[in-house]
């Protein structure tokens, strides 16, 4: 049979967003693949040049719609580096807890989207059912289901509401049991193992060379995590360690390893949450007023001319980085240039290369295991 190009996308169930994967197939085997991006390029970097530092935060929420809290926090760290703000300890704790809640919600969204990729709809409804628990918690903090606009330059918008910590602990402990339920559905199924094991190999060194980061690298047996190499929040005070999966082959991690590492990471996030909520300064049952100095420090609105800010943040899909040059329009009120480093932008072309040699039916399994998010990719 002659080789042919198949264009998957932009509207395709596999893509998890809006992009195009062009694969060249020989029968059922993928011979060549290339990615085509830019279908939801919104020009956030250009828009941000006409917004002041507070107004940029909602755009960063909307960069990655699955993990809004981590992306806006990432931007906030860059802005604080630029504006030289000292953040109160309690605010750092709240940000850390909120980010870990968001990490769980994001991984659950990944799990829910991965189910249909390998042909099971049940895990989608189950995972998204538990995701609602954490969305409710975040909603109490930020007031919205998805885009919270919660971190501020210098702290957080509001303190945790009364009774929130109790609900957080109860739901987290419930969720730890639900993870076992998912594993009973998936790991106990031979079909699941047969579909995922031995498929989509990628070694750690190749991934780092190509610019992949985050859980995808940790699945290959390396515990490189920005949260401990360049600790940014209170991760150096908490009891945790990065989730690592041991790959079974010299060819690196396969889809199953990447699935396992995300499940373990959800467990680790639960551990971080339970640890952090007990250690929070000011007590977990107190609620400070908006703008109290315990949760929000005074921040300047203008950046010094020529100053730069940079943040390196472990997002749910890898290291997200922001680079801001101050001193734009409005004499320093706006960023002069806001540059966003999206982990998936670099990962997607790498995944396209990873697929070569596998079957057409493996494409969604491999693609989904890397957890693509097109919102941050296209910016």
């Amino acid at each position: 049979m002659a080789q042919m190009w198949i264009t998957m996308g932009p509207q395709h169930p596999m893509t998890h967003g809006l992009w195009t994967l062009r694969v060249k197939v020989d029968g059922e085997t993928v011979v060549d693949a290339e990615a085509e991006l830019g279908y939801i390029h919104r020009g956030v970097e250009k828009i941000a040049e006409a917004r002041d530092f507070t107004q940029v935060t909602p755009y960063c929420d909307r960069l990655c719609y699955v993990s809004a809290m981590t992306w806006s926090s990432s931007y906030i760290y860059a802005a604080e580096d630029l504006l030289e703000v000292e953040v109160p300890e309690r605010a750092e704790y709240i940000r850390c807890i909120a980010a870990e809640c968001q990490r769980i919600a994001s991984h659950l969204m990944w799990l829910g989207a991965y189910g249909p990729d390998v042909g099971n709809l049940t895990i989608m409804t189950w995972a998204l059912r538990e995701r609602e628990m954490f969305l409710d918690l975040l909603q109490e903090l930020g007031g919205s289901r998805m885009h919270y606009n919660y971190p501020r330059v210098g702290g957080v918008t509001r303190d945790i509401p009364p009774g929130w910590s109790d609900r957080l602990i109860a739901k987290t402990k419930l969720f730890e049991k639900r993870i076992d339920e998912y594993e009973m559905l998936l790991d106990e199924s031979t079909i699941f193992l047969v579909r995922l094991q031995g498929v989509g190999y990628a070694t750690a060194e190749d991934m780092v060379e190509a610019g992949v980061s985050g859980p995808n690298v940790r699945a290959s047996g390396v515990n490189y995590d920005v949260r401990w190499t360049h600790p940014y929040s209170v991760y150096d005070e908490l009891d945790w360690e990065p989730a690592v999966e041991k790959p079974t082959s010299v060819k690196g991690s396969d889809c199953y390893d990447r699935y396992r590492v995300r499940m373990e990471e959800m467990r680790m996030s639960c551990r971080i949450i339970l640890d952090a909520i007990e250690k929070i300064p000011g007590g977990r049952n107190t609620t400070y007023a908006n703008g109290d100095e315990m949760i929000l420090a005074k921040a300047p609105t203008r950046a010094p001319e020529g100053a730069t800010g940079f943040s390196n943040y472990e997002c749910t899909r890898g290291a997200s980085q922001f680079y801001i040059q101050g001193g734009g329009d409005g004499r320093g009120k706006n960023p002069y240039r806001l540059s966003i480093r999206s982990p998936m932008f670099i990962t997607i072309p790498f995944v396209a290369e990873t697929m070569i040699g596998y079957k057409v039916a493996d494409i969604p399994a491999i693609m989904g295991s890397f957890d693509p998010c097109i919102g941050e990719t296209d910016r």
Binding site: L121, R129, I191
Partner: protein
Amino acid sequence: MSGSTGLPTINSLVKEDLAGLIVDLLAGTPLEGQAEAIAAFTGALLTSIVGFLAIMLSMFMILWIERKQLGRMMDRRGAMTSLRSLWVGENGTTAGEWWTMVPLIGRPIGALNRWLNSAFGNHDPSRPTVDRVGNRSWMGFAIFPGFFQNIADGMKFLIKEHMVPERADKFVFEVAPYLVISSTVLILGLIPMGSGVYGPNPELSVLFAMAVFGIAPIGVFFGGWASNNKYTLIGGIRSAVQLTSYEIPLLLTVLSVCILSGSFNFVEVITFQGQSGAWNLFLLPLGGALFLISMLAEVERIPFDMPEAEAELVEGWWTEYGGMRFGLLFAAEYMRTYAACILFAHFFLGGWHAPFHGLWGDLPIVGLASPSILWVLLKAWLVFAVVFVWARVALLRIRTDQILEFGWRMLLPLAVLNLVLAVVFRLFLFDASGVVEEGLGSAWSLGIFAWALPLLVTGASLGIFAFLLRDENKEATPERMFHIRTLEPAGTHIPGTE
């Protein structure tokens, strides 16, 4: 069920009373000579219609079971559509005074509509969304909530535009659905629905039904190829490969059933199960499992739904079909599933025989209170709900090469083993004197008691199953146990590079 209890059954009504009536009516007319033939034809036609209607009307039941069972297992409520809004309108908006357009009986309909609206209609239009989301808009009662969803789907497809892709092979594109649908309906025509409720009853009806079952893949392949779309092309090829390779274990299993029962005829297979004392499932549990697995593949449901693999092939081979063509294909798929369930009931679950009917089936009132059609339908629904829907909820989609490997390397040897078992049972362990027309048969007694062989086989099979089911300690063996055992593991072979 024997019709000897004195009360009329469908069989006796059609075959005896109606035949007598026709013969009486035709007496004295020029057709008197052919009266017997006409009566037989009319009887066959009527029974066919009854059986066919039973299947077609209960089709909606299958779809409903799937929706509800799926919803329950996924922790959802599932479809809730009722007929009520046909008259009442959507909440917030009533249907208006449409009845004024109906001539003659417009006013009574209007009165009925007003009454329906006040009784079951829009009680609190100020909070429609809250009611909808909280599922509190169900004032009054609903019969089979969600049952009418499938009717709505089908009716909607009727009014959809018919589109043919510009570059498609139009003739084949149009013909392919009819190939699939007509062959599917033909199977249902051959399957008996109850004791005496069948139209044609050819001597080799099992063989004929399985042959007809094999026509649909051709239509699938035609449709996939003619759509001029790469997804449908791959889907069609996958379908052809999968269906042909699973036909073989399926046919071997059916062959084993026929050997065991000594006939290629549905009615005789079922009657044999009723008279010999045990259903085939308890004699050939392996055969039952093989039949279900290969039937899952034949009707292209999860875990064998590669031809329609949503994740990579959009909608598979029917991606380009819309409107009523798609609606019919969709219905045909469920008809095939339903036919598979009924076939399983016939081959392995004793057809229209009630459980333990040999013990109590002769009691006059009880025997009649369990109509044979209902038993067939109940068994088919049970098989569908327990096996087909549950598999869809709990399992994932297998890859094409794994499907083929599973079919050729595991199912085929097992099917041969099953065939050998059936031959051994029939040749050496069968006691022909134990086949009785009434009461408990003892054909498989081994000379001990009536259910000796079935109990033995079932117990042994359950033991083997439990042994295979035990949890392996996956941590103990670090190397992956679940690699596909192909010559070249996945990811190592790229065509054209050697």
